[in-house]
Symmetry: C2
Subunit: 304 residues, 2 copies
């Protein structure tokens, strides 16, 4: 590609830039962001080659002129505003993608903001680290062996989808394709619900009058179980709201499961408890074995 | 001590034996267990100096004669039977302790099995590893820097409690004291409930028709959250039932918390969600900072 524009040059956007450069897959990268200091730092680090100023239409137009690919890697709450700002300056040959953790809401925002140009938007979700941020966190190998889910729209041309896929493949990622709805159902179950459950447990304990005593005896099992409750509250508030319908459905299924387990426990039904525990242990063991086989030497992915 | 008897010479019992020997805190250790092969292996490894045969009263009597301390480290479901078997052979000078993860039920079992000799039983719970087992898993440093909770009975003499405490201290452990009821409430919240929740989530996902698709996208957050669902289903069935009242109370409190979070989510109340998430993140951060300060270089404790 000749020119790539990245909105938000932190861990996700900056690592995308570094990986593309390392692969020789891009000639020039323009970074756009709200923080002038971050942009200057990204330039200084050689992650980007030029800076576009988000609030200035002329600068935005200049940044976008002749771009092959635009990646939105700013906080998801800004997605619609960014799309609305770039819509007037979008060349017919430019493809836009994003890195948001939810997809149905992003698609809806894109339809509102881009209107007739929505065919140029190919939604994506790289399943990779989110625990550090800023340009200094960007690394060129973040995406090696990681999954990127592309949730293409009916309007997308296969060539535009392939341009996004090829860029991620150049970063070392493995492309998966789901519909936006499938994506959101899947991540509600394996990521968004666990986050909500972990936050709920720690908050529950922290609000008890004897919280200090409780935390004193919490050990490594508790530490691992609650690690995701160390994630950004703002980011997970946004994800929870963005994926509200799917998350509510998963939460309801889980609460029904707890209600049933509670009944087994209250009845002293050891066989029923053991059946749930042992099905879970077995399924988890199979899963771990499968990922250890597949991701053999790599596997350092953080958060999702 | 001159003589220590250990029922169950696996990770917990065997590591206690190795640590006592390393500290020079015991002259001779007798191991008693249901598996002749395990006992022979423990003898071969030098963990124990002699074997007592569980099913033979004469051998048990011989094993217990003049013992300073008896540790029950067999599966907790065997506790009452072991106590009943040793009761007739217990010297007045012998102190008995255990390593069970629940305490109210153990105390009740001890009262039934030991009757008038219950004052000789000082219940305990070492907060240390349970993921591997057998004599080969035993190591001399398992308890260094780890907590051992002693839940003394009103009938215990301070000297008997101190004998148990001193033995664990010789293994490098730090002694804490709680009542059996406090102990069970605390561990229901920070250990037993998280196990139940993790098992419930994995079972919930594994039973869905599209389970394979879901597991395919589960990443490291899910892996850590569900690590404890890899624990022994039989052991956690027993712990759940043994601590049923306290676990039910914690589960109810947690389900009330989820019901409230569900209402916030359904109402799209981002501020309320963020308040829970951010209280949890803050509390967890404080807790991690506190334990990292306290346990500075050590800290490898597994399961609880």
């Amino acid at each position: 590609m000749n020119k790539v524009v990245i909105f938000g040059v932190g861990l996700i956007g900056g690592s995308f830039a570094r990986a593309l450069k390392k692969a020789g897959a891009v000639r020039s990268i323009v970074g756009v962001g709200r923080s002038a200091a971050s942009m200057a730092r990204a330039l200084e680090l050689g992650i980007i080659d030029a800076i576009g100023v988000a609030g200035e239409p002329a600068s935005l137009a200049e940044a976008l002129r002749g771009a092959d690919l635009v990646l939105l890697a700013a906080p998801v709450a800004q997605t619609e505003a960014i799309l609305a700002a770039i819509a007037p300056h979008l060349d017919a040959g430019t493809v836009v993608t994003d890195a948001g953790s939810t997809k149905s809401d992003v698609v809806a925002a894109a339809r509102r903001a881009l209107g007739g140009k929505v065919a140029q938007f190919v939604p994506g979700h790289p399943i990779a680290g989110r625990e550090t941020n800023g340009p200094d966190a960007a690394i060129d190998h973040l995406y090696i062996g990681k999954k990127v889910v592309i949730t293409a729209l009916a309007e997308n041309s296969e060539a535009d989808v392939e341009r996004v896929a090829a860029a991620w493949r150049a970063c070392g990622a493995i492309i998966h394709r789901l519909t936006p709805q499938e994506h959101d159902k899947v991540f509600a179950a394996v990521s968004h619900l666990p986050h909500l459950l972990a936050y709920a447990l720690v908050d529950d304990i922290a609000r008890k009058p004897h919280a200090d005593l409780l935390f004193q005896y919490a050990a490594s099992g508790f530490r691992d179980f609650t690690r995701i409750a160390g994630s950004s509250p703002e980011m997970w508030r946004d994800i929870s709201l963005a994926n509200q319908p799917a998350l509510l459905a998963e939460l309801d299924a889980y609460m029904a499961q707890l209600t049933q387990l509670r009944a087994h426990l209250a009845a002293g039904d050891g066989a029923a408890l053991e059946s749930v525990y042992s099905n879970a242990q077995h399924a988890r063991h199979q899963w771990i074995t499968a990922i250890e086989t597949a991701e053999a030497p790599a596997s350092q992915d953080k958060a999702d």
